[in-house]
């Protein structure tokens, strides 16, 4: 291969690679909506570039050799079989590259683990097959509800056309305010589940009998969808998570409505007695 065609090849691979990133959510992570998710996104792109460079380097050499050093073009085999210098070099360089990848990752890991000083704490409980949410602390304390798949079974069995948010919609969204540090405590009632919202870069197993936690701060209001990410039996594919991020005032309104509704339930119950 001439050096020109090699350049063209490298160029077009890089271009294809770059353009695939532009379509983000289809070929790449969903658009990040929190600081952590942004870090993850950036580190992944950084890792991809490093991999691409190594890939081009190694297979450039290998394919050059495949083209030139073949018997059919009359190439005679050399007979070398080791070189300490070369071997030291190709052990050291990868080490340095790995350090360059591990450094930013280390910082993110530490940041992800820091669940202190949260504004609101919510407990997410995995059930076969739905989520239960209890607002434990902060604005909305005391609210509690279940969140179940709302896609009609007829869509799953192909008797009805599938809606836009097929399998990613629930009856009761988890509602949180924008810009506040939300701590989610996970646990489970029966088997393992995992609470995952890609846009926030959080995924945490929910373990029966134990609690774990995670945190996120949503950048923008909106609806963010995720799914259970640990096999939990028959309907594992049918227990999505939907987080509804509201402006502060709307969130306050939602809390007030919720509390009024539950007060009403309590009163009717009392009257009924």
């Amino acid at each position: 291969m001439s050096s020109k065609s090699v350049m063209t090849l490298v160029g077009s691979v890089a271009l294809a690679f770059y353009s695939s990133m532009a379509f983000s959510s289809k070929y790449n992570f969903q658009e990040p909506q929190s600081v952590i998710a942004q870090d993850i996104y950036d580190q992944h792109i950084w890792a991809l570039w490093i991999c691409l460079a190594i890939f081009v380097g190694v297979f450039g050499v290998m394919f050059y050799s495949i083209v030139k050093h073949r018997k059919s073009v009359g190439y005679k085999a050399a007979n070398f079989h080791h070189s300490t210098t070369v071997e030291v070099i190709w052990t050291t360089i990868p080490l340095l590259i790995l350090v360059a990848m591990a450094y930013p990752a280390t910082k993110t890991v530490i940041a992800m683990k820091d669940t202190s000083a949260s504004d609101i704490t919510i407990k997410a409980t995995g059930y076969q097959w739905m989520w239960g949410y209890d607002y434990l602390q902060g604005e909305g304390e005391g609210i509690s509800f279940y969140s179940k798949l709302s896609t009609p079974p007829a869509q799953v069995t192909n008797k009805e056309p599938k809606g836009e948010n097929y399998l990613l919609e629930v009856d009761n969204n988890l509602v949180v305010p924008v810009g506040k540090k939300i701590r989610v405590i996970t646990t489970a009632n029966d088997v393992l589940h995992a609470w995952w919202v890609p846009a926030f870069g959080v995924k945490q197993d929910a373990i029966p009998g134990f609690i774990r936690d995670l945190w996120f701060t949503a950048d923008k209001p909106g609806l963010y969808r995720g799914q259970c990410a640990e096999l939990c039996g028959k309907d594992h594919g049918f227990m999505p998570i939907v987080v509804e991020v509201l402006e502060q005032e709307k969130y306050a309104q939602w809390v007030a409505d919720k509390q009024k509704a539950s007060a009403a339930v309590v009163t009717t119950a009392a009257v009924g007695n």
Binding site: F55, F59, A105, V191, R212
Partner: protein
């Protein structure tokens, strides 16, 4: 070795017909049975994979109800790992190790018979569990409790099958270690052994180390299920996460058990077809040993989302990334072996180059998964499915194909059909990538694994992936045809069909005699 002498005395009048295979203590017969068994399991596991991909062809539930779908993925994983890949490597070891070290047979010939005949028992247990009340195990090939505590009889059959498979593997491994350490031809020092023998020696040690751990794990699960213990049950003071630690202490070395012999095969083939000695032989040996040792301290990289403390996550991240270094050394060594060689591209070489090319892609996605924050996004998604199929299918399986084509002329004294075999390679290569490359995108975009149905944005890539999978599955029938055609007839093979071959098996006639080396060759 007394055992070997005994076999030796009988070699002219071994029984024929079915009894030959039932009672055989010959390493070649046993190797053959291992390979056929593994191929049958590969087709079974492949059938299940086709079922999975058919269900995932379009959104909605079409042919597999969710519970059955889960059984399909679970049994697909178990059958491929324990039934197809591992026995194939043991079969190759049975055939090749004695021939490559100049020995007449394996050290423990009768135990060898046993370790094979346990396999069909375990295989039938797994397959028949589909037909018992409650169906086959459906908790994934990793069978995490408490979910795996819920299933019915199928789960117990799975546990029993794993016990049997583990016993078989341990016996096989002890046999291989003893053979390699005691039966090498005079003059063959450890550092003169072919790479395939080296990688198998190290693999066998890994097997002896971790299979008992797996046996312990499933036993604890069994007693939790039936005898009132609570190892993994929080309500009784146990911990479900404990299971994952113990399982992956077995499970991660297990993935190296499936790749180290593949490294060995490729390290034999690349020099042969480059007509040039392997570059950096001793660094290859050290790299293999360090991979094996490191593989024992990285298990919790499968558990980055269980909620370990930051130090734990960081330790397992660094240790995992470190494995990339010796793995890289191997890839560089293969490239340097090819460099300025005089290469030809018969099918074994094609599969080996295909192996390197795709294994490196799997290695890259492995490093990406090692980075904790990224893994937290991709763990339990299709990204991971893509990653491990790149290392298991285009890694382990391609190396097995390469090895079979490479040694088939020695085994049956005939050449396979080179044209068809090349076609098998190209079809596998193309369809494999169609099936699995797009799964990286599915995983990144957020599609979880082990789900029978998915939301609409994943539809097009899933359809592409299924088409690739069907193509890949069909191409493997071509492989079956090629092998049968080669055994039935086919051009006579020379004793040394590949002019670059340097290892001892090529000094024997083709087909290799029933007892490999009656008098040990002397290595200078």
């Amino acid at each position: 070795m007394a055992v070997v002498q005994d076999v030796h005395g009988h070699h002219d009048h071994h029984p024929s017909g079915i009894m030959r295979w039932v009672t055989t203590t010959n390493h070649k017969d046993i190797g053959t049975m291992y390979l056929w068994f593994s191929f049958a399991m590969f087709l079974t596991g492949g059938f299940l994979a086709m079922g999975i991909r058919a269900e995932l062809f379009m959104p909605g539930i079409q042919i597999l109800e969710p519970e059955l779908f889960n059984s399909f993925t679970t049994l697909h994983g178990l059958i491929m790992v324990f039934g197809a890949i591992m026995p194939a490597f043991v079969g190759l070891a049975n055939w090749q190790v004695p021939m490559m070290i100049g020995a007449p047979d394996m050290a423990f010939a009768r135990m060898n018979n046993w370790s094979f005949w346990l396999l069909p028992v375990a295989g039938s247990l797994l397959i028949s569990s589909f037909f018992v009340p409650g169906g086959a195990a459906a908790g994934g090939w990793t069978f995490y409790p408490p979910l795996s505590a819920q299933g019915g009889l199928g789960v117990d059959m799975m546990i029993f099958a794993i016990h049997i498979l583990g016993a078989s593997s341990i016996m096989g491994a002890i046999n291989i270690i003893t053979t390699i350490l005691n039966m090498r031809a005079p003059g063959m020092t450890l550092m003169k052994m072919p790479m395939f023998v080296w990688t198998w020696l190290i693999t066998a040690y890994l097997l002896v180390l971790v299979m008992p751990v797996l046996a312990g794990t499933v036993t604890m699960l069994l007693t939790d299920r039936h005898f009132g213990t609570s190892f993994f049950n929080a309500a009784g003071g146990g911990d479900p996460v404990l299971f994952q630690h113990v399982f992956w202490f077995f499970g991660h070395p297990e993935v190296y058990i499936m790749i180290l012999p593949a490294f060995g095969i490729v390290s034999e083939i690349i020099p042969t077809f480059s007509r040039k000695p392997l570059f950096g032989y001793s660094s290859m040996v050290y790299a293999t040993a360090s991979i094996a040792i490191l593989s024992c301290v990285v298990w919790a990289h499968h558990m980055f989302t269980v909620g370990m403390p930051a130090v734990g996550q960081l330790f397992f991240m660094y240790a995992t990334m470190l494995i990339a270094v010796p793995t890289g050394v191997k890839v560089f060594n293969w490239t340097a072996t090819m460099w300025r060689g005089s290469m030809t591209f018969e099918t074994p070489m094609l599969f080996s180059i295909g192996f390197i090319f795709l294994f490196v892609i799997g290695g890259f996605s492995g490093v990406v998964c090692a980075i904790v924050p990224i893994d937290i996004q991709v763990q339990d998604t299709y990204y991971v499915i893509a990653h491990f199929h790149y290392v298991l299918v285009s890694g382990a399986l391609f190396a097995i194909f390469a090895g079979v084509y490479y040694w088939l002329p020695k085994w049956c004294g005939r050449m396979y059909d080179e044209k068809l075999a090349k076609m098998h390679f190209w079809l596998s290569m193309i369809f494999f990538n169609v099936a699995f490359f797009v799964q990286h995108f599915l995983g990144l975009a957020g599609m979880p694994r082990r789900i029978p149905d998915y939301s609409l944005q994943f539809a097009d890539f899933n359809m592409i992936s299924s088409i690739g999978a069907f193509g890949f599955g069909l191409s493997q029938l071509l492989f079956l045809y090629i092998v049968i055609k080669c055994i039935r007839g086919g051009e006579k093979a020379a004793d040394k069909p590949w002019d670059g071959g340097t290892t001892l098996e090529w000094t024997l006639p083709s087909p290799a005699p029933y007892h490999s080396f009656e008098t040990p060759p002397v290595i200078k």
